[in-house]
Subunit: 433 residues, 2 copies
Amino acid sequence: MKQQINIGLCGLGTVGSGVVKILENHQEQIKYKLGCEIRITKILVNDILKKRDVAIDPSVLTTNVDDLIYNDEIDVVVEVMGGIDNTYTILEQAILQKKHIITANKDLMAVSGAQLLQLAKENSCDVFFEASVAGGIPILRSLSDGLASDRIQKMMGIVNGTTNFILTKMTEEQLPFASVLKEAQELGFAESDPTADVEGLDAARKMTLLANLAFKMNIRLEDVETQGITMITEDDLKFANQLGYTIKLIGIAAINDGKVEVGVEPTLLPNDHPLALVKNEYNAVYVYGEAVGETMFYGPGAGSLPTASAIVSDLMAAVKNIRLGVSGNSYISPQYTTQLKDNKERYSKYFIRMEVDDETGTFFKVTDIFANQKVSFEKILQLPLPNKELNTAEIVMVTHTVNKQQFLNCIENLSELSVVKKIISYYRVDGEE
Amino acid sequence: MKQQINIGLCGLGTVGSGVVKILENHQEQIKYKLGCEIRITKILVNDILKKRDVAIDPSVLTTNVDDLIYNDEIDVVVEVMGGIDNTYTILEQAILQKKHIITANKDLMAVSGAQLLQLAKENSCDVFFEASVAGGIPILRSLSDGLASDRIQKMMGIVNGTTNFILTKMTEEQLPFASVLKEAQELGFAESDPTADVEGLDAARKMTLLANLAFKMNIRLEDVETQGITMITEDDLKFANQLGYTIKLIGIAAINDGKVEVGVEPTLLPNDHPLALVKNEYNAVYVYGEAVGETMFYGPGAGSLPTASAIVSDLMAAVKNIRLGVSGNSYISPQYTTQLKDNKERYSKYFIRMEVDDETGTFFKVTDIFANQKVSFEKILQLPLPNKELNTAEIVMVTHTVNKQQFLNCIENLSELSVVKKIISYYRVDGEE
């Protein structure tokens, strides 16, 4: 058995520095648990001379990726530099050199995870990527091991800390999106280009990974219907709250009769739903399994040390496999062909706000459209708009459970109705019977 | 590689039936994932003729444990019958016959887990016991694998569903303990002899297992200071709530400078703490890791299928090890010697209620006692008692963080003070800065 495992680290930014720190600070317990030492042999960086907040022997740093890939000493490559195409090539080459891979790269895994995992399997290598979803929360390992015996039927995830931070602030302080985004950027909770976060793409990538693991399929990123939070207003949050709901950016993945839906969209949850209570930059994944019922996994979705802790835990699993001689057995190829639900198979309640003429007969005309689509209501709120001169009122409704097609038909018919001045917003409602 | 793994099941009650159902209903995915079948070869029962809600070939049932232990076909023994001494002997014999063990038996594991795990290791056998703590929540595996790289510093667990159900009902419906206990018994959430649950012993067993896994020690059940919920009154809950707290039966395990405290006691948590929101029979374990920060694992703490799902997931892990030829490598012997904190090293805030003479100078005398122990207050509530003829008032206080010895000194001195008629109750306060 090897007495020392050597790793090559690609990237020494926020997360990479965290990996260095954990390997150093926790080395005693890591060594005890594994029975061997882990040593960082080479670190790939862009700039060797850059000042860093971790002490590194300069001879360990390199700007040449070949020093890692074609280094016979290195057993495991830990990739924390990000990027897709170029990074894929590096990891592919590393696997062909029989190196195991630990990555935090959700973008890459969501797009090319299946190929990379398959290639690794063919080369008896492990690829672990716990850190790519929900930072420090061990959700991937819980799905693949802890809940292995169960059939997962539904997952709802708050898997993007930036948007959860923004929505929490908007809700608690009744502030508009733009000003909270600015605050989040100043606090470092949002990037200077926040598009991938606020448009839901980051969450969609993570839901792709979660859904594939839970449903044993090969769902593609483009199968995930994605909507962000930029259109959510303070009034949406206020009226939702009046009806007992909190708005969260929820990634959903559900399976019924072998057909799946995976999506990311703003969703109303009852105020006492476990996910409604997940605040600020925290993440949580709610998992409903046929046998286990409701579970939830909660924790920090990002950050240097939380993310690095997931990476080093993955690394320890890879090292254990190396020492036992059983690497390359973790990945199970998809068991099922992906079948996506169409809109008629996607059931949900909906919340809708519209501005209507404040005159006799309006309410009848509006509800008639819903009735024609066999959509009934659970909650209705009617209130005059602040500007009375316009002679309009606002109606806020929550439907009973309907299929998405029924609801979209209602939206189309409503928009053709003259008494409906404007459909202000509509969102999915989930998390209650 | 073996194409079929045979198991012997000890016990066919609620959980045992769940194991049979999951192995049957999920067999397609289990076979796909493992690459082999799992077959139940023998089931140990007390009464072969008893009517059951799962269909079992009668030839599989036996009342003779030797049919399992000395059966060369059987690879894994799944123990779901409970009991300690007799069960230990059975599992010991099974291990000596090179059988792997999956157990849901917290009583046994809390008392004799270390010996059993050591014996198994010496015999290259696996012992998995995920189902013994928090039912369907994969918390043991998360501690040992998912958070492997981290140093766990504190855990707080709601690990007993019965007491959480009772406290939730008492809080929400302002009912006394006795009547809610009765309701819980009728609903099947409490046993006819509820002692182990309501006195905190069940939770103490689970905290022993969690603490040993997290802190890599051999903490004994008798090291766990245990207090139940029978003394909690509606007024305790009401006044706690007035100060912004929820009372939960919390198992705590914390380590500082290598010294640990493990206990179970009613504890006040801020109303918005993730654990305060865990209701009814649900369980949750809050884990604070040095690197990962705050995480929480939430789910059903008991029940046939949730518990069985944890058992079958454990079974799948054991089968995987068998097929790869790496059984007996999971258990890591304790790395550290147990060192318990004394009362001066156990820090906390405290909530205290007392009945005092409603006269000039009382408040000074009371606060003087706290001041002498250098204990200051965060919150104080003074209110006249309903029965004004007694001329007494009630004082409710929450201290700043103090060590337990300081606080106990205050209690002793207060009880000697003539103006203090009665110390009504006091509890630990946790979960806030």
